[in-house]
Structure formats: C-alpha cells, structure tokens
Amino acid sequence: MIFVRFNSFRPFPLLILIVTVSFALVPWWTNNVSLRENLILAALDIALASNLNLMIGYAGYVNFGSIVMFGLGGYVGIYLVSLWHWPLLVATLIGGVAVTVIAYVFGLGILRLRGAYFALATIGVNEAVSVFITNFDPWGGASGIYISLEAYAPLGGASRALWIVYFLMVAVMGLSLTLSYAIRHSKFGLGLLAIGQNEDAAATLGVPTRTFKAMVYSTSAFLPAIAGGLYFFKSGIIEPTGAFDLTTSIEAIVMVMLGGQGTVAGPAIGAFLYEELRGYLLTAQAFSHFQLVIAGLLLLVIVLFAPGGLMGFIHQRLPFTRRWLE
C-alpha cells in the first residue's frame, strides 16, 4: 500500500519521534548543561515508568521491585566498563541481555503468584539481590564500584562522554516508548491486556499466560537495565543502596499512576511531571522538607479519586484525543 488511508493513520509514532528528537536536540543546540542534567533524569524516569507500565498497566501485575533490573543492569554494565575496559555501548547492551535472561528465569518462578502475593515477592527479590550484592566482594560489596576517569577516555574525555551518555539515554527513552506502543498494538499486547482483565478467562481463550507473563517481565527488564548501565556510568559510582532503592521503584509506580496506567503516553507524561515536580520541591526552600509528604498526598488523591490518572481524565473529557494520544 502506497497510499495511507486516513482512518488507519495513527499519528502517535510520529509524536514519539518528535518528542525524542527534541529531547536530544534542544539542550545540544542551546548548549545548556543544566537543562541536559534535568532532561536526562526525565528521560530515565520516562524509560523506567514506560517499561513498568508493561507489567502494571498491560498485564495487571503490580511489580514493586522493578528497580532490581535497573540496578543489576547497572552493575553488569559498570563491571564490564570499569574492570574489563569494554566499550560502554557493548557493556550496557550485554547488561541488558544478561538481565533479560535473569528476569525470564525469575519470572517463571515468581509469576506463579498473583495479586498481592506477586507484589510481595517482587519486594523480596529486590531485597535479596540487594543484600547479595552488598556482600559480593568482586563487585565491591557495600562500597560499590568506582569508575576511574580513564574509563571516560575512549569517549573523548568526561565532558564529551556526558553528552554521549545523554544521547544514549534519550535513545533508550525513545525505544521504551516505541516498545510500549508496538506491544500495545500487537497480539502479544492483546494477550497481556486479556491477562490483566481476567487471567483465567484469557487462559481459557488460548492465551499462553505463563509464557506471556514471563516474556513481559523479562521484556520490561531489558531497557531499564541498559538505562541502569548508562545512569551509573554518568554518576561515576554504583553502590547497592543507590542501585536497589525501593523508593525509586515505588516512585516509578507513582509516575505510572499519575499519567494513567495502561496507556502509552500516560506513564511518560506522569514521569515528566513527577520529575519536574520533584525538582521544584527539592529546590524550593519552603517545600524541601515536605517533598515526600506532597508526593504521598498526590498519590493518595490519585488513587482515591482519579485512578485513571491524567490520561483517564483527558480521554474522558476530550474523547477526540483518544485518536492521537494513546
């Protein structure tokens, strides 16, 4: 088909492209380093929230320990970069693949559980891995791995390396959104949504629930693991408390809920708004002590009064937006 019929035209992929490109280019053209530092956190959060949404929003499984994949990916990537001197891109990709495999194996086990039992198990996995790494001497134990300045040399020095890491992180963000969109419109995604609605009914209708669940659990681990490698490469250090912080995991859930679970754009919008709000609260004198309180109240209000999040609200009030803001 050369001609695209108008009613089958979906503008959303274009929107993803525009957002990703402007994320990459705006700080570069204006050469604004503080904007870049702000946006890299937003890009990271969008990637984390978007992948978490595959579990929570599509398959309906509450993953409280999604951060474990981010941390593990970071550890594998940093280990390869700083101790084996592998190129950053290769190291983080291997981190992503390794973590995806680990997640598939974990997934086959803990995805036998449903509902709150699964949620508890994900907390258990995160804490167990965190304690294991804290005691694992080859990876630096509790003090973690420092990245020496030489590791930045192959990328043309530290300041240039930071730009490269930024572009890679934006790419991870773009891929996360594309993945989320692609799954939403695939048969796999349809199966996941069916699992989210009623798992037994889905199984009866021929959805291979066990495989699909393990697949989505491992798929949602791949890009966060790469993001972990990039993020900790940028920080220059990785240690267990920062890598497996349960709070970050739960903040990601807040982002998904804020934007609207189960939609493609929702988690991204939620992540962006949450990140900006956090930045504002941390710098504003009056609020710096009450950042947690405000985030908590925000979450409570969403859960109690607007469980559809922002996207739910927008879709309800302005039905025409369903076409182009998915």
Binding site: G60, A119, E127, N135, L246, V254, L292, V293, G296, L297
Partner: protein, 286 residues
C-alpha cells in the same frame, strides 16, 4: 551446646517481638485483603509515642503501654477512614498504593519533625544471668508482654462476639453482611486493631534498641517475611513465624557474617511464598 541454647533463647526473645509486629499486618490482610504498606511507618509512630510519653512526660515506659494502645487504635481508625475505606474490594494495586501513600506522608512528616537522627528511651531493668549467659531484663519483659498481647488478641478473636464478627467478615464479607453484621464497622475495627498491634510492637522495640524515623522499613520487611512464613492472614501463625525468624537470626549469627542473614531471610521469603503460599505453619489444609 550451652552456646546454641543461649542463641535459641535470644532468638525466641527477639522473635516474639517480630511476631507481634507481623500480627497487625496479617490481621489486616486476613480480614480485608489489604497489605498495609504503611505498617513500618506506624511501628515508628509507636516508637515515638513511647518517646514522648516516657522521656518527655516522664511516664514509666511500661505504664505507657495502655496509652500507646489507645493512641494506636485511634490512629488506625483514622487511617482506615482516610485511606483504606475507598479502596476495599478494588484491585490490589489500589490498596497497596494508598497505604504506601500514607507511608510516604507519615515518613515525610516524621523526618520534618524529628529529622533522621537516632532517639532512644532509657529503660533500666536488672538483667538475668543463667548458665553463664546474661539476658537483659528489657528483652525478657518485652517478650513476655508480646506473649500477653498475643494472648489477648486470641481471646478477643475467639472468645468474644466482636471476634466472631471479625472472623465472619474475614471468611465471607457478603454472607456476614446478610447475617446482620455491620461489616464496614468491623473492617474499621480490624484495621484499628492491626495498627494497635503495630504501635504496641513499635513501643516494645523502642524499649530495646535506639530508633530513627526510618527504622520502620526494616521491621516492615521482617513483618512481611514473618507473615509469609506464618501464612498470610493467620495471626497465630505470625507469632510462630516471628519466633522462627528470630531463631534463624539467633542461630545463624555464630556461623556466618551478620550481613548475610537478611539474604537468607529474603530467599526463604520468596521460596515460601511460591511453594507454600499458606505458610509453613498451616497444617489444616494442603
């Protein structure tokens, strides 16, 4: 041999406190299918309640227990109506998130009020020596009180009409409602009781160790492990699970570095959750 016996006694003493902390969590889960993620924050409130009553108002630490219990019950009822009532019967995500939101608010306010520096409540009791090992009096009294509170909970649940109503609602809320039980009030009451238990355990922990606003997190995770060991929703199992966890900690300590014990706990936690979702102490059903 004497050394192992000493670690066993140590394990039972600390384990009974873990069991008490977990009992509140498991009661709430059993009655309303809600995992209370504000449990740790509530335990911390119990600790600070003792701090104010004892160090600021000058009350005897153990005389403060009834007041802590009343405060805990009031706090629990308030939390139920604010954060839990609207999410009962909705997907698990909603109750997990609303209780977690409460956790964030409480920890945030606590950090603003008390910072994250350590507090302690000095309690002096004579210690007991037996076969060359010394057991501090506060540990013995705390364990004894934990058993007394657990016993009172048992009496309440199995020997009173209110307890019967709570068990009926836990079993089948719709049927209980049809039999004329005001189930909403029973849910509020059970949440209040669960938080009361958390307050009481927080208070007892505060008589043993120094604490900060963030101490609750560790006890909440331990409560999860204990609850899962004892079977979610089974308060009697929680006490056994707590003692079991205490024994693991007590007996493992001489054989391996202390920093590895949480690893054992969490691996056990995940395995028990997958293999024995009813807990390892439920003999009645397969």
């Amino acid at each position: 041999m004497a050394e192992i016996l000493a670690s066993v006694i140590d394990g039972v003493l600390i384990g009974s406190i873990y069991g008490l902390a977990a009992m509140g969590l498991t009661l709430i889960w059993g009655v309303m299918n809600v995992i209370n993620l504000s449990h740790g924050a509530v335990i911390v409130l119990g600790m600070f309640a003792l701090y104010y009553l004892s160090s600021v108002l000058g009350l005897n630490a153990y005389a403060a227990l009834p007041i802590v219990i009343i405060l805990g019950f009031a706090a629990g009822m308030a939390l139920y109506w604010i954060a839990v009532h609207r999410v009962i019967g909705r997907p698990h995500l909603m109750s997990l998130l609303s209780t977690f939101a409460v956790n964030m608010v409480l920890i945030g306010l606590g950090t603003a009020l008390w910072s994250t520096s350590p507090y302690n409540v000095p309690v002096s009791l004579p210690s007991v020596s037996w076969q060359g090992y010394t057991y501090t009096g506060t540990h013995l009294v705390a364990a004894a009180l934990a058993f007394v509170i657990a016993g009172l909970l048992y009496v309440l649940l199995y020997r009173t009409r209110i307890g019967k109503a709570i068990r009926a609602v836990a079993n089948n809320r719709a049927a209980a409602e049809l039999s004329g039980i005001p189930t909403t009030q029973v849910l509020a009451l059970s949440f209040g009781l669960g938080v009361t238990l958390a307050f009481a355990s927080g208070m007892l922990i505060a008589t043993l160790f120094p604490f900060t606003v963030l101490s609750g997190g560790a006890y909440q995770l331990k409560s999860f492990v204990v609850t899962v060991l004892g079977g979610l929703g089974n308060p009697g199992g929680a006490l056994l699970g707590g003692i079991f966890l205490g024994l693991i900690e007590g007996v493992a300590t001489p054989f391996m570095p202390l920093s590895w014990t949480p690893m054992i706990e969490f691996v056990l936690f995940v395995i028990v959750l997958i293999a024995f979702p009813r807990g390892i102490f439920s003999f009645s059903r397969a």
